[in-house]
Amino acid sequence: MEEEKKQFSIELSPRWERVWLLAKMDFLQRYYGSSLGLLWAFLNPLARLLVYYFVFSYIIFKNQDPDFILYLFMGIIVWGFFLEMTKRGMKALEMKRYLLENVEINRHDIQLAHSFTVVFAFGFNILMYFVFCFFFDVSFGLPLLWFFPLLAILYVFSLGVSLVLSTIFIQIRDLDHIWEIVLLIGFWTVPIIWDQSFIFDHYRFMLYVSPITGELINFRDILLYNRMPHMDLLLYDLAYTVIFYLGALAFFKRFAKGAAQRR
């Protein structure tokens, strides 16, 4: 038994061991405390999917296109990733106050650790998406290779937003409510439910406001339409993300210091 275990363990540096443990504890706390466990990571997007699907395809658009449910699912997963990352990331330092007050711990490591739980849930949802695809006529090919680069961009951008939010949250607690509203508005500005071709026809500027729209369009390209992502969007999103993240990191390092302070 011990022998077997050893074979699968990878030697990590103490720092990454720590991040890994923090992430693991985060994950256990989130999903193992409840009786349905990990299933919750999927039930929430599933409920949203069904509600939107029935409301929009039967009541509002009368759109009976069978692909619509996959189109919608993709939108919900990608948006859900950004939403979870930022909402949980905003409070990550607060949640780990019990550590910050008592031991030396890198604040950025706390952010990294919490993000792994969200990435894991995202992976789980993508898996469910593939299961869904089984019932529809979707083919996959080489464009799938772009999955990880696209995910990396989405991840780093969301992490950058989390860093900024968690820093401001130390000072202003209302950010919680403000961010809810931003997300609510954001949900409708990104083509999750509505047809993404509107963007190209009328609202091109929306592609440049944040990388989320471009990312979603590219994710659909590779996972739904089996075609190469829009390279111009990908490069723009990459540049945007790198610059934004570096700025966010500097901001976080400069201001997220007295994080354990009571307000």
């Binding site: 720590r18 443990l21 923090l22 550590l99 607690r173 209302d174 007295g258 307000r263």
Partner: protein, 258 residues
């Protein structure tokens, strides 16, 4: 900073801006912007200077609200000092206080692993020492129990055991020592404690309990109203503290008489 200086505070102050009422919402921020008077400033710690060298056992004494705990938070960096202050801590540390420092939703096992890892112990070593940590804390029957079901004493014993088993260089004990466990545990802790002192750890001991201060500390810092009044040997410092307490008692009783 020389290698031997473990903690250094240079001109460190801490001012709390306390808003009356619930101050952290945006609304009250907006209102308090127009009525600055509502913000009260509390100078919890004022231009404090001191260094603690490796292996020193330093006691910090002072009345309630004199700024002792704030000072500990400033040493760890949990509180950011006012601009101009310099704070350095040179080594791994743990702040020990009653009933703090653990994730209530996780089991004792998970908390031990997480805390020991953060204190710099490799996972392999944690696994080896795990039983010994639990045995010392006398929690053999509760390894899989969530911390929320633990009493304050159990948590304190666990924290103490983790701190003793890891190579934590600096122990910051905030009203911690002396209050942990029953007589048997105290004796055991006492013994281990003496050994660790000899092994060259640096210890900051914040307490009201002058007996333990006299027993262990070679150096005592007295704080009153956020300022260092005296920094010296227990024989020098403790009488001054007693004097302050006496003064206050007398002033109170004379006030009452009027």
């Amino acid at each position: 900073m020389s290698q031997d200086v473990m903690i250094q505070l240079k001109n460190v102050s801490k001012t709390f801006h306390v808003r009356e009422g619930d101050g952290s919402s945006l609304q009250s921020r907006v209102f308090s912007f127009f009525s600055r008077k509502k913000q009260r400033q509390i100078k919890a710690v004022q231009s404090v200077n001191f260094e603690v060298k490796r292996g020193e056992f330093v006691g910090i004494i002072g009345r309630n609200g004199s700024g002792k705990s704030t000072l500990v938070h400033l040493m760890t960096g949990a509180y950011e000092a006012d601009p101009g202050g310099i704070r350095n801590i040179n080594g791994t540390y743990i702040r020990l206080s009653l009933g703090l420092g653990f994730n209530q939703q996780l089991s004792a096992r998970q908390n031990v692993i997480l805390n020991a890892s953060i204190l710099g112990m490799p996972l392999k070593e944690i696994r080896e020492k795990f039983d010994s940590i639990i045995d010392f804390a006398e929690l053999e029957d509760f390894t899989e129990t969530k911390l929320k079901f633990f009493s304050k004493g159990m948590k304190a014993r666990l924290a103490f055991s983790i701190a003793m088993h890891t190579n934590t260089e600096i122990l910051l004990m905030d009203e911690f020592f002396g209050g942990v466990g029953d007589e048997n545990f105290k004796k055991k802790a006492d013994k281990v404690f003496k050994e660790t002192v000899l092994s060259g750890r640096t210890i900051i001991h914040v307490s009201h309990n002058l007996k333990t201060i006299q027993q262990y500390c070679k150096r005592v810092i007295l704080i009153e109203k956020g300022k260092i009044v005296k920094d010296g040997s227990p024989e020098e410092v403790i009488p001054i503290y007693r004097e302050i307490l006496k003064d206050i008692r007398e002033r109170r009783s004379s006030n009452n008489a009027v």
